[in-house]
Symmetry: C2
């Protein structure tokens, strides 16, 4: 299923035509569109969920039902963001002849949509990071038309979800062209290259994301590229945590790295246990109890077979569990290595292996732990399991952990990514290509907004958020003070 | 004056060592550093201003004195930003078992400094966009060490300003390595390539900025590159404005495009006048009254001679004023062209000519005006001169103008760029390489901050802005509500 060049021109042309209409829409209008989209997707659940299960091999319950609920909640949360109005960043500086650097003109800033956005869907979340997922929700909320490149792992679901979304948006009064779905690598690349596209968002692998990033920044007019790429998600377990509740931690870890057959960008891929821990039997048992599970598709199966094969053969690793897989049912693999051997082994052990595999790194003390942390690439998350009487030891790790990730967890597992006001799903490269941004949570809308200042303008020509009377009642900063 | 490889290693190494210390500093501490820097620079004015005049040929008064005042005001305004605390984006979501997408953990987001920043100084503002200028001020405010690449147009001033700034920062208690100055293209390129550098900021030409942008995004670990490049800054004058106060507008225009010998990134390079306007004599007279002025340096002189030479010879342009220059005293050149010929002439007339030259484009009506605006590249500013009874005609232009620029002006001239909370100095490429950001105004600090979320953390390990008791008293959003 490939979108041909003519159809692609039609889709991008329609998005470009829709852009000024979206820019002229109000946040409250867009909130209604998003809620209508959420309702329509909830209603289509009985059709979409089995389709998702068929194409991705993910279980309908609780996984896919939960993921659709997350997706429609996300659309509704962005409707709240639009009604809240703080995202507009409305700032008013009245003329001030006494301004210390010299007389200040009346100047007022708010944001406008950046323009048509290309969104690349992920394989592993067929709803939440796909057609109607976070990038689409935040771009539409911002007032940007979306050209959605479907993931080839669930093409039929993408087409159907796209149709539901498009119809719901149209039914709620959104302009034509505001959203459409395209298929195929060639069409995706052509979209990123198209001069009418003003930004792109992507969730997927490092090589795929980097290739598209390179295209986006090499255009005659480069555009922002928001790629959420790879992450090893280190987890540190302190001696106190092993002693107080080692079995619970071990079971929690196995649950987390095997969740969704290990196909999460937040899968804990490296777990640091103190040397001499006694959790090997518990870990082996917990891993052994996980049934074989399907992976998303053959390409990902192939990638995992290759990745885990390298780990099995790696001379520095000891196998804790490395079952032979049934033809297409994958059981988790777990390895262990001493910190000094891990350091000596270089890149291969530090690279994300997408699927149900993880590595335990045993460390001799805080000094060695810090040494390894300083060598790791940044990622999306870093986690600590520790006891309350160890906070000072953990405090000493915080600068290293903060360098490493966009989200730090305490006595929890990184595979759950809530959608909320405070969420941060991002991090320095290779976690993302845009470390000052997030792709989950309400702040994701900021990626698709561009500030514009109006100097000395008549009130009637100003965007409503910065008119003197503040007709929309949005939160503002006026003459330096928050109102 | 070139920084050699050993010295560069020392400077970048010191910046990298300073980074965690800066990250551990409080905003209030950094505010004190910035104020100390401002005071020291003000005090050094009698030494620095003559040095700047000698190296840049800009007049001491009012220009360079005013520019230094602007620069130290800017440092002090960022101190206010730090004390205000809103820049921290502190957001607290308490655990919520009833969160609609599934139980929500306790999650709290704030920002951390992105790390060492490379800043490239501009030629045309030896204080305000140079060593102690806006990029330096905002990066230091964010808690990022700065490696400052001096502009070769004012090397001695850069070294002295750097010394004053460094000593003031050290005297106020900032860690060693927080700021240093380097010289030379090779050192600048090596800095952008250095893995320890986490972001870069630049003010200068499109070719220079694009070359550095390309390097920054081609690194194994690409980094954000905040380049403020070129802009033609179109000005639209309506028939009503010509009729009501054409002479005043004409004189204002000449004052603006010749200010600082036309060496402003916000110089109005294209002015749209209605066909049949009667301002040619006034314009010729006003241009003729502008005395010859020095340009910044020989390289910029050469660029201008070449640029204005192309305009003089361009078959579509009519010369309104094109004086022969004294050896190194430059007088303004002004050309005129009909809108349809302007469109037919292509790129050359739409490209920034840095220096005292501008083009008047005469338009036959609003339709033709819109056609030309839709063909222009985006820039930093777009200006309208109109009468109050023409607001509806201008309203119809607003979508086109908003696409074109980060700042829109009404009955004013773009060459003044105030530093304030609402300022926006940026725009889509080629105005900048980062259209969602600004390089002037308080929001410039956001470029150097990276969000981090803390999930389930003990209160004592949280950064103060997101501790339960809000010990710094910063503005926050808690459970979705602004406090």
């Amino acid at each position: 299923m490939e979108t041909d060049a003519n159809e692609l021109q039609r889709v991008i042309g329609a998005a470009a035509e829709a852009a000024p209409k979206l820019a002229a829409s109000t946040p409250v209008e867009r909130a209604a569109w998003l809620r209508a989209a959420a309702d329509a997707l909830d209603e289509a659940g009985p059709e979409l969920i089995p389709l998702a299960a068929k194409e991705t091999h993910l279980p309908e319950a609780p996984r896919l039902r939960g993921e659709l609920a997350r997706t429609t909640f996300q659309l509704r949360l962005f409707a709240e963001v639009l009604e809240d109005g703080a995202f507009l960043g409305a700032t008013v500086d009245h003329a001030d002849p006494e301004w210390p650097m010299g007389p200040r003109p009346d100047i007022r800033r708010t944001v406008v949509p950046i323009g048509p956005v290309a969104v690349f869907a992920a394989s592993n979340f067929p709803f939440a990071f796909s057609v109607a997922g976070g990038d689409t929700a935040s771009a539409l909320a911002a007032g940007c038309p979306v050209v959605l490149k479907a993931h080839p792992g669930h093409p039929e679901l993408s087409t159907r979800t796209g149709a539901v979304l498009r119809e719901a948006l149209a039914g709620a009064g959104a302009p034509a062209g505001v959203f459409d779905v395209i298929h195929g690598v060639e069409a995706g690349v052509a979209t990123v290259k198209d001069a009418r596209i003003q930004a792109a968002a992507f969730t997927g692998s490092v090589p795929g994301g980097r290739a598209l990033f390179d295209i986006a920044v090499s255009r005659p007019v480069p555009i922002p590229f928001y790629g959420e790429l790879g992450s090893v998600n280190p987890v540190i377990v302190t001696p106190g945590a092993v002693k107080a509740r080692g079995t619970e931690v071990a079971k929690g870890f196995v649950g987390s790295f095997t969740l969704g057959t290990g196909q999460f960008c937040t899968k804990p891929g490296l777990v640091f246990l103190p040397e001499g821990h006694d959790l090997s039997d518990v870990l082996r048992e917990a891993v052994g109890a996980v049934p074989g599970q399907r992976m998303l598709n053959e390409r990902i199966e192939g990638g995992f077979r290759s990745g885990v094969g390298h780990l099995r053969e790696h001379p520095s690793l000891t196998v804790l569990a490395a079952p032979t897989d049934d033809e297409n049912l994958f059981r988790p693999s777990l390895f262990t290595v001493r910190a000094e051997d891990f350091l000596a082994a270089g890149e291969v052990l530090r690279t994300e292996c997408f699927g149900p595999a993880s590595i335990i790194v045993t460390y001799a003390g805080q000094g060695e732990l810090l040494k390894v942390l300083d060598e790791l690439e940044p990622g999306l998350t870093a986690t600590v399991h520790a006891e309350d009487d160890e906070v000072e030891e953990v405090r000493a790790l915080l600068p290293a952990l903060t360098r490493l990730a966009g989200r730090l967890l305490w006595n929890d597992w990184p595979t759950g990514v809530t959608v909320s006001w405070a969420q941060q799903h991002g991090g320095p490269y290779p976690a993302t290509t845009a470390p000052t941004t997030t792709s989950v949570g309400t702040a994701a809308i900021d990626r698709f907004l561009r500030p514009v200042a109006f100097q000395g303008f008549p009130d009637t020509l100003l965007p409503p958020p910065v008119r003197e009377a503040n007709p929309w009642g949005v939160p503002r900063r006026v003459d330096g003070r928050r109102d």
